[in-house]
């Protein structure tokens, strides 16, 4: 290996006695202090600061409006325009889920149901939010476009059971999603 000899920088007298740098440093820190007190720190505007530094103060102020299109929040199930649950219990998301957060219990649709030809729907659909890593693989793998990552991100609970989203809760978060796959709709 080639030896590289490093030369220490030659300092002149002013640099050696260090005071110039100290004063410069004081100016730097004080400028930051004054600017952040006035809410004029660099980047305060683009970060939607609370008026003190660049920080947004969370419970009162939220970043929700600034969330990007591709933001991955909580996974949720959606229904289509007829109010049919899109999920057909193929369990692909359950298999792909890296942390194994999804648990599906399939159920056969009875023959007298208007959607009988769909054949299956989930009886239970649980997503354990203490496990979910918001990777979005379930959304990617779903052939029915039934599961989506929404922009909700505030989930907290006092027990593990509270942190498991069941089917009802998942549909609550997901809501209706229209104009996607329409293969089960006979009218179209």
């Amino acid at each position: 290996m080639a030896v590289v000899k490093l030369q220490r920088p030659k300092l002149n007298f002013g640099e050696k006695i260090y005071f110039g740098a100290l004063i410069k440093g004081f100016f730097l820190t004080m400028t930051h202090a004054v600017k952040s007190l006035l809410g004029k720190s660099a980047g305060a505007e683009s970060l939607a600061s609370s008026g003190l530094g660049v920080t947004m103060q969370f419970p009162e102020q939220r970043w929700d409006d600034h969330l990007p299109e591709y933001y991955r929040g909580a996974p949720a199930l959606v229904t289509d325009e007829q109010g049919r649950e899109r999920c057909v219990s193929c369990q692909l998301c359950e298999f792909i889920c890296p942390p194994k957060a999804i648990k599906i219990t399939p159920m056969e649709i009875p023959s007298d149901d208007p959607w009988a030809k769909v054949e299956k729907r989930p009886l239970e659909f649980d997503i354990d939010m203490t496990r979910c890593i918001y990777c979005g693989m379930c959304e990617e793998v779903c052939p029915e476009q039934a599961i989506y990552l929404r922009k909700d991100y505030l989930f907290a609970g006092f027990s593990r059971a509270e942190m498991v989203h069941d089917k009802k809760r998942l549909y609550e978060i997901g809501g209706v999603r229209v104009g996607l796959v329409n293969k089960w709709n006979e009218l179209k």
Binding site: L28, H32, S36, L52, V54
Partner: protein, 416 residues
């Protein structure tokens, strides 16, 4: 000594130590956190307050997070007080106390304000009006070295030990510069009583701001001439106080990157809090000393002090309390300066620290003593003698700088 006097002394101890200086410690911590936050474009702790929303009200009271230190203290108090099995129990328990107590003892010579008087009874706002003020502070404050050293040694673990050794070396080294640097000040005032030093500054201008109260003994020229040694002394003293209190940029005894937590690595709960408290109390006392010696102590300045001292309601002369407010304002200001330094200046290397103490400050303080002596004695000396003194001083300075330069180790060239 009658009962009234004892009662007055006890009242002063309780009020000044436990109601003025000790609460300043959490205030320091609060300022440290908020000020550093503001410097770094953050917000800092601004939430802890009275949670009225829990009781069904619409809004919480935050008080800008001023209650945060209480929450911090409560947290430390409620934490598990863990004593590792491998420590030397007696010294391990003694060490935190030895860091806090000396810092609080030194409070007793700090003059907090001008005398107040009630019903013709005049009382100085200082616990013990000793005639050896600064010496007392140095002698007692240096006891806190024992606390840190014992903490490092009794923890029986390598990082605390290194921290303890470092702090011993550092604090003893800087005590020399600390003591030597104020000799010019003491020469100028001809006084070791801190109350009288402050009174002189109130009458004839602060040491670093001598702009009022000129008379035959205190001419403006002599005061301005003495400003230079005073400024050097102020610089050395202030920086030495930083080293003495183990504050940034000299906090090598506890530098986290090298020594985990330094001498208090093995401490938890309230014992750790006591180190913390001792450190901040030392900082408060250090600032108080700097203010008292160089920045006029409780004096408001600009010739207003005599007027304030005369303010009274009937028999009650309350000017002292106004002066006390002034002193505390200056104190907080200086503490903010301490904090600003901490968040501005990066940490020194240990050899740089030692070199700064022994090679730079020790010599500079010595030369400063001679310079101050020359300036103080100048009015009574003949011009020729002053000239000779000045030449000697220049030669001495040059010699010291030369020796410092020659003795500086040049890195050996390993291969040509």
């Amino acid at each position: 000594m009658d009962l009234l006097q004892i009662a007055i002394i006890i009242t002063k101890i309780i009020v000044l130590t436990f109601l003025v200086v000790l609460p300043l410690v959490p205030v320091c911590v609060y300022f440290e956190r908020r000020f550093s936050a503001v410097i770094q474009d953050r917000v800092g702790p601004n939430r802890v307050g009275i949670p009225l929303t829990l009781l069904g009200f619409k809004k919480d009271f935050h008080f800008f997070g001023l209650i945060q230190p209480i929450a911090d203290g409560l947290k430390l108090f409620l934490k598990e007080d863990f004593t590792p099995a491998h420590v030397r129990k007696v010294f391990y328990w003694m060490a935190p106390v030895l860091t806090v107590v000396p810092a609080l003892i030194t409070v007793c010579v700090v003059p907090f304000g001008s005398p107040i008087s009630l019903f013709g009874h005049c009382e100085k706002l200082v616990i013990a009006d000793l005639d050896i003020g600064p010496l007392f502070v140095f002698s007692v404050a240096s006891l806190s070295i024992y606390g840190i050293t014992l903490a490092g040694w009794s923890s029986n673990s390598k990082f605390p030990f290194i921290g303890g050794v470092r702090s011993t070396a550092q604090m003893i080294s800087y005590e020399i510069a600390l003591g030597l640097s104020i000799i010019p000040v003491l020469m100028y005032f001809g006084e070791l009583n801190l109350s009288n030093i402050v009174q002189q500054q109130a009458d004839h201008g602060w040491l670093l701001l001598p702009l009022w109260g000129h008379d035959a003994d205190h001419t403006l020229t002599s005061k301005l001439l003495f400003w230079f040694p005073a400024a050097i002394a102020f610089l050395i003293f202030t920086i030495s106080i930083f080293a003495e209190t183990n504050r940034m940029p000299f906090d090598l005894p506890e530098c986290e990157t090298e020594l985990v937590g330094g001498y208090h690595t093995e401490y938890s709960s309230m014992k750790f809090a006591m180190f913390f408290m001792g450190e901040y109390a030392a900082m408060v006392i250090g600032s108080a000393m700097i203010i008292t010696l160089f920045l006029g102590g409780w004096s408001i300045g600009f010739g207003l002090d005599a007027y304030v001292a005369k303010l009274h309601i009937g028999d009650f002369y309350f000017g002292g309390f106004i002066h006390m407010g002034c002193f505390l304002t200056k104190l907080i200001g200086f503490i903010l300066f301490f904090i600003l330094v901490r968040w501005t200046v990066p940490r020194f290397r240990y050899d740089q620290l030692m070199k700064l103490g022994w090679v730079v400050f020790f010599e500079a303080a010595l030369i400063n003593v001679f310079l101050a002596a020359l300036i103080v004695a100048a009015p009574e000396l003949k011009t020729a003698i002053i000239g000779i003194g000045a030449v000697l001083l220049v030669v001495l300075t040059a010699a010291v700088i030369w020796v410092a330069k020659v003795s500086e180790e040049t890195p050996k060239v390993l291969r040509a």
